[in-house]
């Protein structure tokens, strides 16, 4: 990883479907074909029933902030011009957790239980990726 360049998203065999869906502005997570439970991040086996049969399931792009932090100084040169920014841990309305960033915020506006929604934005070199925005 070279210094100053944003860490690259490296999809794996089991996560490729997530990033492919992003290209179509769809948010998908793994769904166990046997016990029907949703899971994220992608993994080989269903931790509940150990089935490896899995399909991609589109979830609603909305959720509520479970917790967050506001980064006020950059820990990485690629974010030198981006502070302050929020990192939010989100309970999605369909029951999985996601983490994402919210740029261009007033830190006071970010609150636990606050509503957020995913929007797909072009990240240089990565294509469309999910970013969060506050929903008022």
């Amino acid at each position: 990883m070279s210094i100053g360049v944003r860490p690259e998203i490296k999809a794996t065999e089991i996560s490729q479907g997530f990033w492919d869906a992003c290209k179509e502005s769809k948010l998908v997570v793994q769904k166990c074909c046997d016990c029907k439970k949703l899971r994220h991040y992608p993994q080989l086996l269903c931790p509940s029933c150990h089935s490896e049969k899995v399909e991609w399931f589109e979830i609603r792009p909305t959720g509520a902030i479970y917790s967050y932090t506001i980064t006020r100084r950059p820990f990485h040169p690629a974010w030198k011009e981006s502070t302050p920014y929020a990192l939010v841990t989100v309970d999605m309305d369909d029951g999985v957790r996601m983490m994402g960033d919210i740029l261009n915020i007033d830190p006071e506006d970010v609150k636990i239980d606050g509503r957020v929604a995913v929007e797909f934005e072009d990240m240089p070199g990565q294509g469309l990726v999910p970013r969060f925005r506050l929903v008022y």
């Binding site: 990883m1 998203i9 490296k10 841990t89 960033d101």
Partner: protein, 391 residues
């Protein structure tokens, strides 16, 4: 066949803690290792087990070559981040207890200031670990690039659910600082801190300020573990290892997916095992040396180990109980926050010194019987050890 009391810490060695060093990481480790071996009254050739530390990137062969070890029958490296040292203690005890090795050398610490700065983790200062695969794919590309950021939401959620305050986190920083002010080894020995200083330190990743963070430190600490029986014939009375535990939480690969972010689940699991093995309860503990990479981890650890109820950690730390004469002295060396972050190993060495009665008289814990030590690594994995008085 219980492991409790079967093994002892026979020797400790430690380099000075500095911000800047001419030594290589291996060089620091060898200095600490030789001192620990001598402290135990052993010769390097007595060492037949070697446990290097994951965070330093050292390997058993570094010690075999440089110390001329010809009889190594056991080597292993635990890979639980900051919990690695204490889970290595458990592994060493298993090796000794089963006769696989007689004298196991453990070494930890890094050039945390000169080379492996955690604040620059995104630049590759943490050795690569497959555990970060999902984190690297789904979180760091969005700006979650340093440990402070991945731990901050846990503290934030705890504050939200239980009303924990910045001042309560500050009490932990101040307690460690007061103890460091008594410890000539501590990086912050000469630097006082007030609550005003704490609150005025810059917010870095809410709710964490600069003074919630441990110190990027150069240094190494080493231990020799042997059987209680063999320990009786060595230079100093061995410090018995009474309880050990290790926990990984669910899932250990992600902070985001913790069902309950307000606890350090790995430490909760490890604590139950360690207390059970030792046959002890929190009230039997004279002092706690708790992994304090960041302040909130200490507050949660006190709750997770049962020293107070979940959610009551804030009031507990404000009560003054954690001071040197408060009843449950915390991090009497100054801890990672104010002595130095030696991959958590200085918490264990401090416990050994206190139980041996080897610290400066003005900071000796009176009537010190059992000391509990914790380690936290990666995304809330944990390890716990309980040491007893030398016999």
């Amino acid at each position: 066949m219980s492991l409790s009391g079967g093994c002892v810490i026979a020797g400790i060695g430690q380099t000075p803690f500095t911000r800047g060093t001419e030594k290589s990481t291996v060089g620091l480790h060898l200095d600490a290792a030789l001192e620990a071996i001598a402290d135990a009254g052993l010769k390097p050739s007595d060492i037949d087990g070697v446990m290097p530390n994951e965070l330093a990137g050292t390997i058993a062969e570094d010690f075999i070559v440089n110390l001329g070890l010809e009889n190594v029958t056991f080597s292993s490296t635990m890979r639980h981040g900051g919990a690695s040292l204490l889970s290595a203690v458990k592994s060493a005890c298993l090796a000794v207890h089963t006769g696989v090795a007689k004298h196991v050398l453990l070494v930890a610490g890094r050039r945390g200031f000169s080379q492996q700065r955690m604040s620059k983790a995104s630049e590759g200062t943490i050795p690569p670990h497959p555990l970060f695969r999902e984190f690297n794919e789904f979180e760091s590309p969005f700006g979650n690039t340093a440990p402070l950021q991945w731990f901050a939401p846990a503290a934030m959620r705890h504050m939200h659910e239980f009303g924990t305050t910045s001042e309560q986190l500050g009490r932990i920083a101040l307690t460690c600082r007061e103890h460091a002010n008594l410890n000539p080894r501590a990086l912050m020995h000469d630097k006082k801190m007030t609550m005003e200083d704490y609150l005025a330190s810059p917010m870095i990743a809410d709710p964490y300020r600069k003074f919630d963070c441990s110190l990027e430190t150069d240094g190494a600490t080493a231990f020799v573990i042997t059987s209680a029986e063999r320990g009786r014939d060595l230079k100093k009375a061995g410090v018995p290892i009474l309880g050990l535990g290790e926990g990984h939480g669910t899932p250990p690969t992600s902070m985001t997916h913790k069902r309950d972010m307000t606890k350090v689940e790995g430490i909760e699991q490890a604590g139950k095992q360690a207390f059970e093995m030792a046959g002890l309860k929190p009230r039997d503990i004279s002092s706690v040396q708790l992994y304090d990479a960041f302040t909130w981890v200490v507050l949660s650890t006190l709750e997770d180990l049962g020293f107070c109820q979940k959610g009551e950690g804030g009031a507990f730390v404000e009560s003054g109980v954690l001071g040197l004469n408060g009843g449950l002295p915390l991090n009497t060396s100054g801890g990672l926050l104010s002595e130095g972050h030696c991959s958590g190993a200085n918490l264990l060495s401090e416990a050994v010194r206190q139980l041996r009665g080897e610290v400066e008289p003005n900071r000796q814990i009176s009537n010190c019987k059992n000391i509990l030590i914790s380690g936290e690594g990666h995304f809330h994995e944990g390890a716990v050890a309980i040491l007893g008085r030398p016999v």
